[in-house]
Amino acid sequence: MAAAESYPDDLKYHEEHDWARVEGDEAVLGITWFAADALGELVHFEPPEVGATVTKDQSYGEVESVKAVSDVIAPLSGEVLEVNEQVVGAPETVNEDPYGNGWLLRIRLADPGETDALLDAGAYRELLASQ
């Protein structure tokens, strides 16, 4: 079952509908409920390799539904520490639990100062409301 719409307050958001949970000098990344709902049930996640570098505002992978393909934009820069293999094997996990089991990557932050440029949940909700 697809999750109900939500944008948790403890996350940082990128305007391309990605989220980051910053934990010290690491961050967990994923796509927001809005992005997952717009795509429909995900059937493929093409992840970067562990050890690769992701760059803020640039694509690090692709998610696909039956009908659509979308780039996934990195909200922050860093080195890929871990790819969520559960999502690789069962991409619909993102629709079911976008901020929990549906996370995509864990990275080591290249520049923790980049988080200042991200939106908080309130600002992201306003962005969605204005679109």
Binding site: E41, H44, E46, K67, V69
Partner: protein, 350 residues
């Protein structure tokens, strides 16, 4: 060209159901309600209903209707008795496919053609130009609505009697007069119900009340792709011939029709390229337009909800067309392995 999208008589119903509406061939149509995958599974396991009222209906009538159509359509019309239907192609002078369609023999001198929405104007114009005294071609699409009710339980849910595929009969569903056509585009049992536009809402409501799941064009596409029915505009078109597309079975090469010489030659020489079905051997979803190593191209590709892997149709050089041949597909710069399979890709295990 007008930018205004056309609406079927069921447009309001789709919006009320929360469908995601998209432009398709000049129409605003539901691509999905609940989701492509659950809708797809409903059709494979029970019954789903599609609004396909955007499709065109052309009537061809008169003492020379048969003569007109026999010279324009690829399949042998003389194999049809009144009450029977046939898959056939409207071909151009070079053997290309103007449209693929179902022709219904309504009476001795009366035929109904159900054509693709995107080709309605072309098909009508093509036939109208060739009209003879005694063959009257009319576009009656605006008077008609068409609901495809598909799935192993579709007929039972509608309370209709069993009938052979590619037959049709006048009947009624919960008081709505319909033409029940035992045809479809999903590979499942079921029917297509043709009714008058003003009855469409009543018929739709009755079919939903009987338990059919509303399904959008997204599921229609994945369903037809699993069973390898070609989609005009993707897999076949005015520049592709029926023999290369694997549609020789729908071409009576022993009769005369537009482009038949070309088709006979392609058949005799053997096509240079063939439309094949393939499944991905690696995690990836093929999409229309992706190159296939060796000179081929994907013409339709998606995720198969039943097989849970990437599947597609594409043209490959004839030497690569044998089942089990390994293909390499360029998925946005990444080479991904695929394997040619016999059609259909998906077949129910009975």
């Amino acid at each position: 060209m007008s930018a205004t999208l056309l609406h079927t008589p069921l447009h309001r119903r789709h919006v009320e159901l929360g469908a995601r509406m998209v432009p398709f061939a000049g129409w605003e149509m539901p691509v999905q309600y609940e989701g492509v995958i659950p809708e797809h599974r409903a059709v494979r396991t029970d019954a789903g209903v599609f609004d396909v009222s955007h499709m065109g209906e052309l009537e061809v009538e008169g003492p020379r209707a048969r003569h007109l159509l026999q010279g324009a359509l690829s399949n042998d019309l003389d194999r049809l008795e009144p009450g029977q239907a046939q898959y056939t192609l409207l071909t151009n002078e070079s053997g290309g496919i103007i449209d693929d369609l179902i022709v219904y023999r309504v009476g001795d001198c009366s035929y109904l053609l159900v054509v693709n929405a995107s080709n309605r104007a072309n098909a009508y114009a093509w036939l109208k130009e060739r009209e003879l005294p005694g063959s009257d071609v009319r576009d009656v699409s605006d008077d008609c609505a068409l609901l495809a009710v598909q799935g192993p339980r579709a007929i039972e849910r509608l309370g209709l009697p069993p009938a052979n595929a590619f037959t049709f009969a006048e009947s009624s569903v919960d008081g709505v007069e319909v033409m029940v056509n035992r045809t479809g585009y999903t590979g499942e049992d079921g029917c297509e119900l043709l009714c008058m536009s003003e009855d469409a809402v009543r018929l739709w409501d009755a079919v939903l009340e009987r338990g059919a799941v509303p399904c959008g064009l997204g599921a229609r596409d994945t369903l037809r792709l699993e069973v390898c029915y070609p989609l005009h505009g993707n897999d076949i078109g005015p520049d592709t011939d029926a023999i290369s597309a694997g549609l020789g079975w729908a071409c009576a090469l022993d009769k005369e029709f537009e482009g038949v010489d070309v088709l006979r030659r392609v058949k005799a020489d053997g096509p240079n390229r063939r439309l094949v079905a393939f499944v991905m051997e690696e995690k990836a979803i093929p999409r229309q337009g992706m190159p296939i190593e060796g000179g081929g191209e994907v013409t339709s590709g998606s995720h198969s909800p039943m097989l849970e892997l990437g599947i597609g149709l594409g043209y490959v050089p004839a030497a690569q067309a044998q089942p089990e041949t390994e293909l390499t597909i360029d998925v946005r710069g990444r080479p991904r392995r695929a394997r040619v399979v016999k059609k259909p890709i998906y077949k129910r295990e009975d």
